[in-house]
Every structure is written in structure tokens, then in C-alpha cells.
């Protein structure tokens, strides 16, 4: 028995190597396999975040094969590299589905890459699991959103600051692209509905990879000296965070005075930073590596063993892939086939354990239920949970706080089968017909 385990492992490793080198399917895989596509950038600017997710998928597939595979067949990963190039995402998705005949695809990070592959998945009728927190305002039949919608991350974080920290003045700082802009629009509407005056909200956008934060940090300092408790809500993307936090620390802005709550900073991003001056700044996610549950301890131990690196960290999008992958497995077992149409129907209502000690379920709007955790950054680069929702929060695809989406709902069960059903008008179709 043990011998065969070894055999599978080496074979899999070899096949992964071959696919990642030549894009082609290994020709010597004798038995029939179920193919799973992995569509994450391994080069270019997004490689920093996405490479880990590719490793996570390989790890999950490896684990599943150790358990005997799926429907009596082995799983086989097909890795492609869309190179952080948005149009290339669509091409590579097409290649995965029509050439490699994969049964499902796990991938994408930025919203723009997801938007670019949407038409491909619709046309070729396949399944995409999207693992990253995003701005909402979308529900598509072929996509399952396992990351957080704004109400599963941004809104609870703002609530925490308002109620527990007594914040009255808000800086919404973000990188200039679709996720921060939509999130900030929702947050602004939400804050105003809670009675925050317009002059108590400052919105600021910066370009990708912005590195000179001196002026903006001073602006924040000035904005914060108006006699009201001030906080920064940051949707600053990946790389630009490091110089931002460095500047905050150097200019002596402490978390006790002006806390920063970030939605895109996880354990992975903090790994490139001396976190001692950042202690107390906040992050909002649905998972932290520091969460103390047996499921999580087990996952981290196996992950470190798989990567052979005791310093490897885990993060929220990884957990989203874990949940998404397990849901797909369960749905395929339930349907008895990997046929996308059957899986899309059977996956709704499937519930699997998440790593924070509860169960996450796939809802009819293709979003999942998750707990929301607020954590404070610690000196060792980990987060410590200081607050969490008492139960699970259902992902809300169409925000209730934006005037043109508050009447929309999504329900992909028959007979409605609609991603943007307008409750007020009583018919399918509304803003954003995707």
C-alpha cells in the first residue's frame, strides 16, 4: 500500500513538472484521470500572490489522491501561467477547457482577470472557483465565489471600528482600480446611512505600486487632528502596502491613535516587512493562520510538510481554495459525474468544514457563508483575533447600500436561475447583465 502511495506521488510530481514546463498533458499517464485546471499567474506582478495559490491547489489535489481520488479516478492538475496579463487569462482559460478538457478551473486573483475569463466560461460552460475577496456586484452561473463579498469583510470591519473603537472620521484609501473603488462606494454609502457627515470622510486613490507615501500620510495626520477619533480603511493593493506601512511607522502614527484596517494585507504580504512598528493595526479576513482550531493546526502542519518549509505561512485565499475544492469534490460525488451542468446544480447547499471551526455552505447566489474575523497585527507577522462575528455571514452579491443594486438578488436554482433578478420589477435582468 505504502509503495503505491509513493508511486502516485512521484508520478504526480513528474506530471506537474511536465505540465508546468510544456503546458502539454503528460502522455504517459496511462489510466483515465479527472483533470483540474489551475489558472494562476506564475510570473509578472501578480506572481507574488498567486504562486502560493497554485501550490495550494497542487497540495489539495495531492491530498485528495492520497485519499483515493474522486469517483474512483485520480485527479490530475493542469497548470498554466497567464503571466499577470489579463487577455492572456481568457486565452489560457480557453486552452484549459477546450484543449486540456478540464472538469473545473480554480484561479484568478484580480477582478479584471476574472472579468476577462467570464465570457469564456459562459461560452464553453465550465466551472470557475474564484478564491479572493472582491467588490461584489456580480453573480454568474459558471462562477463560484469562495472569497468574501463586501458584507463579509468591509462592512463588519467598519462596524467594529465604529462600535468598539469609537471612530467618527474615516479615511478610505485605496489603489486606483475596480475593487477599491466599488468597495469604497459601498462603504461611503454605508457610512452616510449611519449618519457620518460627508466632511468626515476622505477618499484617496493612488496608482499601482505607489511608493512615495509622504504626502498622503501627512494628509491623514492632518485629517486626524480634527478632534474626532480617526481611522484609515485601506484597500491598498499588495505591493504598495509595504512602503505605506513603513511611512506610517516612520512618521510615528501609532495604531492606538489612528488605526489602519486593511482588506488586502495578509500573512503573506507581512512576510516582507518588519512588523514591530505595526502592532495593533487591523486586518479583516475570514481566516487567520493564528486561528486556534484542530482543523487549522492539521492543515498548517500538512502544508508545511508538503512545501518542506517550516516558515511557509497560510492565508485567507488559501482557505477559500480549500473550501472551494472540498465543495467541488462533494458536489461531484453527489452528482456522480464531473459534468459542469450537473455539478452546478448539485453544489448548491453543499456544506464543508472550514478551517475556523465551522461549516461553510454554498448558497444559491454562488457565494458561501463565512465567519468574519478582525485581527490585530502582531510583532511576529501573525494576526490575533480581537473580534469575530457570532455566526456565519452569507455573502451578499448585490450590495444593499448602492441605489442601483439594492433591488437585485441572485438565485441560480430552477425556476429562477438568474444572476440579477430585480425584486422591484419582478423580472430577471438589471444592472450588469453578466
Amino acid at each position: 500500500m505504502r509503495g503505491s502511495f509513493y508511486g502516485i506521488k512521484t508520478m504526480l510530481a513528474a506530471s506537474v513538472l511536465a505540465t508546468s514546463m510544456s503546458f502539454a498533458v503528460p502522455s504517459y499517464a496511462q489510466e483515465e484521470t479527472i483533470k483540474v485546471g489551475i489558472l494562476h499567474s506564475l510570473s509578472g506582478t501578480m506572481a507574488i500572490s498567486e504562486t502560493t495559490l497554485k501550490d495550494t491547489m497542487l497540495f489539495l489535489i495531492d491530498e485528495q489522491n492520497k485519499k483515493g481520488g474522486l469517483l474512483g479516478k485520480k485527479l490530475e492538475a493542469v497548470v498554466v501561467d497567464p503571466a499577470s496579463d489579463w487577455p492572456l487569462f481568457a486565452e489560457k482559460a480557453r486552452e484549459l477547457i477546450s484543449v486540456n478538457k478540464v472538469s473545473a478551473v480554480f484561479g484568478c486573483w484580480t477582478s479584471v482577470s476574472r472579468k476577462s475569463v467570464l465570457p469564456v466560461f459562459e461560452e464553453l460552460n465550465n466551472i470557475l472557483f474564484y478564491p479572493v475577496q472582491y467588490e461584489g456586484e456580480e453573480s454568474q452561473r459558471n462562477v463560484f465565489y469562495t472569497g468574501a463579498a463586501p458584507n463579509q469583510q468591509a462592512i463588519p470591519a467598519v462596524d467594529y471600528l465604529m462600535n468598539d473603537e469609537g471612530v467618527e472620521r474615516w479615511v478610505l484609501a485605496g489603489t486606483d482600480y475596480v475593487y477599491p473603488q466599488t468597495t469604497n462606494k459601498i462603504l461611503q454609502a454605508y457610512l452616510e446611512s449611519k449618519g457620518v457627515a460627508k466632511e468626515d470622510i476622505m477618499v484617496n486613490y493612488t496608482p499601482f505600486g505607489h511608493s512615495d507615501w509622504q504626502t498622503i500620510v501627512t494628509d491623514i495626520k492632518n485629517f486626524g487632528s480634527a478632534g474626532k477619533k480617526t481611522a484609515v480603511v485601506s484597500t491598498i493593493n499588495g505591493d504598495a502596502n509595504v512602503p505605506f506601512y513603513k511611512e506610517l511607522a516612520n512618521q510615528g502614527i501609532k495604531a492606538e491613535d489612528i488605526p489602519v484596517v486593511a482588506f488586502s494585507v495578509g500573512e503573506e504580504e507581512l512576510a516582507g516587512l518588519d512588523t514591530a512598528p505595526l502592532v495593533g493595526h487591523l486586518t479583516a479576513w475570514n481566516y487567520f493562520q493564528s486561528v486556534d482550531t484542530p482543523e487549522n493546526a492539521d492543515f498548517i502542519a500538512k502544508w508545511k510538510e508538503y512545501t518542506k518549509n517550516p516558515d511557509r505561512v497560510t492565508n485567507d485565499p488559501m482557505e477559500a481554495h480549500v473550501i472551494g475544492f472540498n465543495m467541488w469534490i462533494k458536489a461531484v460525488e453527489k452528482a456522480g459525474t464531473t459534468e459542469p451542468d450537473a455539478v452546478i446544480d448539485s453544489i448548491i447547499g453543499v456544506s464543508v468544514p472550514n478551517l475556523t471551526g465551522g461549516y461553510s455552505a454554498m448558497m444559491p447566489n454562488h457565494h458561501i457563508t463565512k465567519p468574519v474575523l478582525i485581527g490585530e497585527i502582531q510583532a511576529d507577522g501573525q494576526m490575533e483575533t480581537v473580534w469575530q462575528t457570532s455566526g456565519l455571514v452569507v455573502g451578499d452579491e448585490w450590495s444593499d447600500y448602492l441605489p442601483d443594486s439594492k433591488d437585485l438578488i441572485a438565485d441560480w436554482r430552477a425556476p429562477m436561475s438568474c444572476g440579477n433578478f430585480n425584486v422591484a420589477a419582478g423580472k430577471c435582468g438589471g444592472k450588469g447583465t453578466n
Partner: protein, 538 residues
């Protein structure tokens, strides 16, 4: 007689304080022990407050440790310790005496959790405890904390402290803290008016913050006084903000100068369109990372010198890569700018992916040495040390290059080859070697720029890409082939950018700068300091 009585009194005092100290200590231990059973932050805060209420300075130790997250209790017997963790083991210290009392595995301990609100309360409690500290710096910090979070109950304590204080500057802070507390109290209007004046005279951001919030909850004469004091502070701060913008401009300019000055040599002097210039910067930054890594694991004491050690190494590594590039590729492409552009762009991609393969795609941590962390206050401007040193460093590099170009034989040869290659060759200058070493020099300078940029930016494989466009912009704007042009170009672009940013935002500001440069190049195609004479025609 009086002398004797005084001594007797003193003895009595010591005896009683000794006795009460003992009973105090048991009470304190009991209170501190409560930390192990606190269920939420509110309960922990109550314990912190009651510790502060004892007024005993010894609790400062445990409060400090708690604020730093270094207080844990042993799971087996709920005893609270101050801990210092290292690699899974923790040294245990007594929370009151601070003596080391043992060791435990971190798994046997549970940390007492703290959050921002709790850290704030600890800071306030700590301030009231340390107002009588023998160290003036500590007293001043205490007074400043009390100013930011005024508490009417503290007026008495502050009065006593002010009476005892003999350091003028600390006394002033205490008077200001008292004024802040007066505003929060229900004392008569005359006292409050005086307090507003004291706070207004302080004139910084925290004073402004206090006054604005007070303005919101007062009326009549007090409201007017607060409003006019706040307006006074706002106008001073506006002046400081303008000064700050100039400083930020210089600081951004110095970063641009560092990134561009190597290019001013390879592109400006030699005319090679080197798209891999940014990657030389990146290589310099990674050299710093490697140096710091070795220092961290083997010679932790040398950490503050890590940048000084990295500088020559970065110069050599990047210079060597430049030399190989010139000998292996660029020398075959002289006079063919389009091919050079494409070839060097290819090299840049290769270098990026190479670094990504060796070091991984994620950011690498490059620490700031202690002399490059934090900031100092100049009026209402916060000047960060790392930016200040980068300005100094970039000017030093500039002066050094100027010296090499104008005062050394090698510089003379370089200029001769640039001005007229065939003539220089006829004079016995080995032009291929001058080319190779000039290119290596430009690359090496880019490498040491990388050491400096590792202090303000991400060390990732994409580091260089963020600077390549800016570098070309500076060199073209300043005038190709002129070091002074690069200096003036970098500084004016930096300052222009920083003056536009507050009004137009970072995104639009950058666009505006680009538009202005395009317009400028239309008017003066050769940049600010155009080379004149035959070299231009060649």
C-alpha cells in the same frame, strides 16, 4: 533639634512604607493574578485601571509588558508572568520584581490578549504613574500623553507635579496638559479661557485637535476663543505644510536622482537605451537583502553597519552584471538603438525571472538600521531619518560622479570617447574598454541606488520596473549627457509632483507631470541643459 526631628520622621516614614509595601505587594499580586481570569478586554481594562489606582510605580513594569503583549499565564496554575519568547521557549519573569524565575515551553503558556483600546488605557494609566519619574524625558512623555487624553481628575496630580518641576520645557508641557484637563472639567469660564490660550500657544496638531473638538461642544465666548485659537494654529500649520511639500519634493527628487544617475551615464553619456537599468537597481536591493541575511544569522551585532557593507558589494555585483552585458551583448549593437532597446528589454525580463526563481516571487524583508528608523520633528514637519539620509546619500553620489568625470584621467577618457570616438582612438585610448567600464560604472551606480531604495520600497523582482520610466523621464527632461541636468531635472520633477499631489491626487498628479514634460520636450527637444557643439551633430 529640627535636624534630629527630620531624621526621626524619615525613619518613621521608611518603616511604615516598608510595612505597607509588603501588604501592598500581596494585594498587587492578587490584582495582577486577575489577568489570568479576565474573559474579555473590558475585564482586563478594569484590572489595569485598578493597578493604576494604586499609584505604585512598580506596576509600571507589568503594564509596559502587557502593552507589548509580553504577559502570559501558565495554564497549569494560572500564575501570571512577564515572558520573553525565543524559538518556542519562554523565559519567565516575576511581574513585580522583574527577576527571572524560570522557563517554560510557549505551549504551556496562554498570552493575555491586548487590543488598541486596552493599549490606550495602559498608556494613560502609565502616564499618571510616571509623572513623578526622576527622568525628565519620561515626565515629558507622561505630560504629552495626558495632553492627548485629558482627564479632569488628573488636575490635582498635575498641579503637584508642576510645583515640583524644575526643567522649564517639561514644566511647560505639564501646564499645557493641565490646560487640556481644565477644558474637560467643569471649572469656571475664566479658567477655561486661560486654558484655551495656553493650548493655542502650543500650536501643534494635537492642540488643534483638542480645540476643534472643544469648539464643537462649547458656546458663547468660550466657543469664539477656541475658534480663533484653532484658526491661528491652522494658519501656522498651513505654512509648515508648504515647507513640508518642498521637503517631500526634495526627498522624492533625491530618489529619482539616485534611480536616474546611473542611467545618465549609460544613456546620457554613452547613448545606450538600457531598458535593464531598473534591474540593476533591483540587483543592488537584493544584494542588500543577502548581506543583511548573512549578518542576521552570523553577526547580529553588525546589523547597523549592514548598509555600509552592502554598498561596495552592490556596486561590484551590479557593475559586474553591467560589464558582462556590455561585453556580451551591447557592444555588438552600438549605433543600432532599436535593437539595443529590444535586447536590453529582453535582458531585463530574464534578470527579473532569474531573481524570481532564486529568491521567490514574494517580497523580501530588508530591515532599516536603527539610525534610519523613525523621524524627528522640525516645527510641525516630521522629517523621517531614512528620507533624510537618502537625500544626503544621493547628493554624495552625485558629487562623487562629478569628480570622477571632471577630475580623473578615466573621466577624461570617457568624455573624449563620447565627444569623438575616432579621435580618441587615434590618441591611444582603448575605446572598447572605456565603453565597457563606463557601462559597468553606470550599472554599479544603479546597484548602490538599489541599496538606498531598499529602505523605502519593496524588495521584489519588480522593483526596477517602477523606476525605469521615471529614470528616462528625468534624464530626457534634464538634458541628455549632462549630470547637472539630471540633478536639476530630478529635483524639479520631484517638487512639481509633490506640489500637484495634494490638489490633484496622486494619480492625476502623475498624469499632469507627464503632460507637462511632453509639452516641455516639444518646446525644448534637448531638455533643460542641452549639450552644445559638435557632439550634438555627431
Amino acid at each position: 533639634m529640627t535636624f534630629l526631628r527630620a531624621i526621626g520622621l524619615l525613619i518613621l516614614l521608611f518603616a511604615t512604607s516598608g510595612a505597607s509595601a509588603q501588604s501592598n505587594e500581596t494585594a498587587l499580586r492578587e490584582t495582577i493574578g486577575g489577568l489570568s481570569s479576565a474573559k474579555n478586554f473590558r475585564e482586563t481594562e478594569e484590572i489595569v485601571r485598578s493597578l493604576g489606582a494604586t499609584g505604585d510605580p512598580v506596576v509600571g513594569r507589568v503594564l509596559n509588558a502587557l502593552s507589548d503583549g509580553n504577559v502570559s499565564f501558565r495554564k497549569s496554575d494560572n500564575t501570571v508572568f512577564i515572558v520573553s519568547e525565543r524559538a518556542g521557549r519562554a523565559k519567565l519573569f516575576d511581574p513585580i520584581s522583574g527577576d527571572e524565575v524560570g522557563e517554560a515551553a510557549t505551549t504551556e503558556l496562554t498570552k493575555v490578549k491586548v487590543n488598541n483600546g486596552l493599549r490606550r488605557s495602559i498608556r494613560e494609566v502609565f502616564a499618571t504613574l510616571t509623572l513623578g519619574s526622576p527622568n525628565p524625558a519620561v515626565r515629558q512623555r507622561a505630560a504629552d500623553t495626558m495632553f492627548i487624553s485629558p482627564d479632569p481628575a488628573a488636575i490635582e496630580g498635575l498641579d503637584a507635579a508642576i510645583a515640583k518641576e524644575d526643567v522649564a520645557s517639561v514644566k511647560e508641557r505639564m501646564i499645557q496638559a493641565r490646560a487640556a484637563a481644565v477644558l474637560a472639567s467643569d471649572l469656571p469660564e475664566a479658567d477655561k479661557l486661560a486654558a484655551i490660550e495656553v493650548i493655542g500657544a502650543r500650536g501643534d496638531r494635537s492642540a488643534l485637535s483638542l480645540l476643534v473638538s472643544y469648539q464643537g461642544r462649547s458656546e458663547g465666548a468660550l466657543r469664539e476663543a477656541a475658534a480663533s485659537a484653532a484658526a491661528g494654529i491652522e494658519s501656522t500649520i498651513a505654512v509648515w505644510n508648504a515647507a513640508q511639500n518642498v521637503w517631500y519634493g526634495i526627498s522624492l527628487g533625491s530618489v529619482l536622482l539616485l534611480a536616474a544617475i546611473g542611467l545618465a551615464i549609460t544613456f546620457g553619456v554613452m547613448g545606450v537605451i538600457n531598458m535593464a537599468h531598473g534591474e540593476m537597481v533591483m540587483i543592488g536591493a537584493y544584494t542588500t537583502f543577502v548581506v543583511q541575511n548573512i549578518i542576521r544569522t552570523s553577526y547580529p551585532g553588525l546589523f547597523d553597519y549592514s548598509l555600509a557593507i552592502a554598498l561596495p558589494l552592490a556596486f561590484l555585483v551590479a557593475g559586474f552584471v553591467g560589464l558582462v552585458m556590455e561585453r556580451g551583448l551591447i557592444r555588438f549593437l552600438y549605433g543600432r538603438p532599436l535593437e539595443t532597446l529590444l535586447a536590453t528589454w529582453g535582458v531585463s525580463l530574464v534578470l527579473q525571472q532569474l531573481v524570481r526563481t532564486i529568491f521567490g516571487p514574494t517580497n523580501r524583508e530588508v530591515g532599516n538600521p536603527s539610525w534610519m528608523s523613525g523621524s524627528f520633528q522640525l516645527g510641525e514637519m516630521a522629517i523621517t531619518w531614512n528620507r533624510l539620509w537618502i537625500v544626503v546619500f544621493s547628493l554624495a553620489v552625485f558629487v562623487l560622479l562629478l569628480y570622477i568625470f571632471n577630475r580623473t584621467a578615466w573621466g577624461l577618457q570617457m568624455r573624449a570617447v563620447t565627444a569623438n570616438r575616432r579621435m580618441a582612438a587615434s590618441m591611444g585610448i582603448r575605446t572598447p574598454w572605456v565603453d565597457a567600464f563606463t557601462f559597468a560604472l553606470g550599472s554599479g551606480i544603479a546597484g548602490i541606488a538599489g541599496v538606498a531604495l531598499s529602505q523605502v520600497d519593496n524588495v521584489s523582482p519588480d522593483l526596477g520596473q517602477g523606476y525605469i520610466i521615471d529614470s528616462f523621464m528625468v534624464v530626457v527632461f534634464g538634458g541628455v549627457g549632462n549630470l547637472w541636468g539630471t540633478l536639476v531635472g530630478a529635483m524639479s520633477l520631484g517638487i512639481l509632483n509633490k506640489f500637484l499631489e495634494p490638489y490633484a491626487g496622486a494619480v492625476l498628479g502623475k498624469i499632469l507631470v507627464l503632460v507637462l514634460i511632453i509639452l516641455f520636450i516639444q518646446k525644448r527637444p534637448r531638455g533643460l541643459f542641452a549639450l552644445k557643439g559638435r557632439a550634438v551633430e555627431a
